[in-house]
């Protein structure tokens, strides 16, 4: 039996979704993009007299729900299937878009360089429990204007895993699409084997900005899957109650869904989000708050009710270093998310309210993800009934260390974490240098990065990617791209 977690009963889900339909029909959504407004009104949506709010009928929403795929797959840069997003499948992704990078030596945040990103991308190839990569942080050795597309460029070049990413601007989207087209070879190939997921964020409360709504349309047209990332903040730009916040999240996400499905019925989407309980004491949006995690799991249930694959920014921490808070917030989130069956769980490696990325934490989080994957396999009987002969063997031998039963099942029953997790007794721990978690994580990073790895992509594609990026860099005042060593 796969263990499952639920916060909402069917009655509450119905109440929340019905309330959302009511709000969409009567309060409407503010949209700052003329062509998106026309798209909706052309399909019968009503417009407020000031031309800003669009009212979506239940029928229109139902039509969008009916055409939304209940699952889709992601493929790596070589075209191999990597993640099947649907049902109760669970896949992990690193957190996305950090502004700062935690320096291994000083343990202080700093701006990242291209060389840091290359270490990240290489390391991600070895993170066996994290199925997809993300454009995890930006580097500051390129013009700020290309900081969104440059991350994708580096990711595509140096790690084959599919990528969770997003554009900051309209121009950013075009460049990022062209990079993916270069990898796949044609628009059809890209649409049939998506290599990325783009985030598109409504603005709380009940709003879509020009850029973000355009992103939804552009992604649908290109066949690039979108994760809707609504961010209602409880008690601030959303009701203080978790239920009220779920109503708002449903409204904002359904409106995105309608934009996407009217653009192209069948466009792949994730019912995602990054809501938070707003901490009025510190003016922050804690991702490690238990209420935040409950909202995430709650909206995942609503997504499942609609039969739409889900995503959440959960399994990350607000701590500033790799400390106990970082560990407990991340594992709490990752465990709840796995039990809830969130299909794409974004967060590994991330600290400080989605602002700070740490390679040491990524390596630790990979272990957390590994443990939750084991947990999801549940407790299944395997040649356990009848057990008389096994117990007779145990009694006569005094142990089962080399029993056939043990040898057969040890690896599917017991999950052995890497040496990042301390399992030594004190004497051995001392003998091995008494190293801290951070030191163990760093050792693992260096081991992975030192490994010989095949180059990703063909030389022709690599060259094409470089040409696209260089053109953009030149448009933004750079003579050349940072050297890749």
């Amino acid at each position: 039996m796969r263990p499952k977690l639920k916060f909402l009963d069917d009655e509450l889900i119905h109440k929340i979704t019905n309330e959302a339909y009511e709000l969409l029909e009567n309060v409407g959504i503010e949209i700052h993009n003329k062509s998106v407004i026309s798209l909706l009104t052309d399909h019968g949506a009503k417009l407020s007299s000031d031309g800003k709010r669009v009212f979506l009928s239940h029928d229109l929403i139902q039509k969008a729900l009916d055409s939304t795929p209940s699952s889709f797959k992601l493929y790596d840069t070589n075209g191999n299937e990597t993640a099947d997003l649907g049902g109760y499948n669970v896949h992990y992704t690193p957190g996305s878009c950090a502004i700062y990078f935690l320096d291994s030596e000083s343990d202080e945040p700093r701006h990242a360089k291209t060389s840091d990103y290359l270490r990240y991308a290489k390391l991600m190839r070895k993170m066996e429990y994290i199925a997809t990569q993300s454009t995890a942080f930006i580097t500051n050795d390129v013009a700020e204007q290309i900081s969104d597309s440059y991350r994708l460029y580096l990711s595509l070049l140096h790690c084959e895993k599919p990528i969770v990413t997003g554009a900051f601007t309209d121009n950013g989207f075009e460049v990022m699409k062209n990079l993916q087209l270069a990898v796949r070879g044609s628009a059809e190939a890209l649409a049939s084997k998506p290599v990325s997921v783009f985030s598109a964020c409504p603005t709380a409360p009940l709003k879509w900005s020009d850029i973000s709504s355009q992103n939804v349309v552009d992604c649908a047209n290109a066949g690039i899957p979108v994760e809707f990332v609504a961010m209602p903040l409880t008690g601030f730009v959303a009701p203080i109650t978790l239920t009220g916040t779920l109503v708002q999240h449903t409204v904002e996400t359904l409106s995105g869904l309608v934009i996407s499905q009217l653009t192209k019925p069948g466009a792949p989407v994730l019912w995602g989000g990054s809501p938070a309980v707003f901490d009025i004491r510190y003016e922050t949006t804690p991702m490690g708050d238990i209420g935040t995690m409950m909202i995430d799991c709650g909206y995942n249930e609503i997504g499942k009710h609609f039969k739409i694959p889900t995503q959440a920014y959960i399994g990350l921490s607000d701590a500033k270093h790799l400390d106990a808070q970082a560990g407990f917030e991340t594992s709490m989130g990752a465990t709840l998310a796995a039990l809830a069956g969130i299909n794409n769980i974004s967060g590994a490696g991330m600290l400080d309210f989605e602002n700070l990325f740490s390679l040491e934490k990524l390596v630790l989080d990979n272990q957390i993800c590994g443990m939750t994957h084991r947990m999801l396999k549940g407790i299944e009987p395997k040649e356990d009934f009848p057990s008389k002969s096994l117990f007779e063997e145990l009694i006569s031998e005094g142990h089962l260390l080399i029993a056939d039963h043990t040898r057969k099942h040890i690896h599917d029953e017991i999950h052995f974490p890497s040496a990042v997790i301390d399992r030594a007794n004190r004497s051995r721990y001392r003998e091995e240098g008494g190293v801290t978690l951070k030191q163990r994580a760093r050792k693992e990073i260096e081991q992975h990065i030192a490994e010989e790895m095949d180059e990703c992509l063909t030389p022709e594609i690599r060259k094409e990617l470089e040409n696209i990026m260089l053109t953009e860099a030149k448009k933004n005042g750079m003579d050349s791209l940072p050297k890749i060593i």
Partner: protein, 214 residues
Amino acid sequence: MTNDILTQLTQVLQTGDATAVSDLTKLAIDQSIGTKIILDDGLIAGMNIVGERFKKHEIFLPDLLFSAKAFYAGLEHLKPLLLKEKIASPGKVVIGTVQGDQHDIGKNLVGIMLEGAGFEVVDLGKDVSPEQFVDAAVETNADVIGMSALLTTTMPVMKKVIDLATERKIKDQFKYIVGGAPLSDKFAKEIGADAYCFDTVSAVECVKGFVKGK
């Protein structure tokens, strides 16, 4: 008597009781306590205490908002008198999130706090172009231009605002404060801004410092 009313005013302001603040301000006006005295020693003095308590984490954002609402209930009665007596506001700040950036939560909080501290705030919203910033600052005769950016891609717009003011030879008419998660002191210096503010309290302190002795 004067002191009694002003002390009471600062006290009720702290509890966020808008009706009481409104009544006491009216009473103070009726008692002919000077307009500037009511403003400085009653309303602003009360908000300063609230600001200090907020800074020490003794009270939280909603408490501060209640007090700010109450402050405005009192200020409404003083406004016509301030105009008539040509008493300038303690300072005017033009504020906005820069072009291409939709993140306005932090900027809104800063605006609320500045208003709460008695400053006049002209909020230009989000996605604000350099021209809009500079034009608004000139039109409203602002003391400070406050810019917010949360995206690395939009940070360069802040420099464009300052460059535009320089180009128009009016840079020194204003002070420039910047804020938002990707910024730093270093960045503020590089683009020629006067201060980087990491939260609402630091923003209010900066602006106070800039308009002091104006």
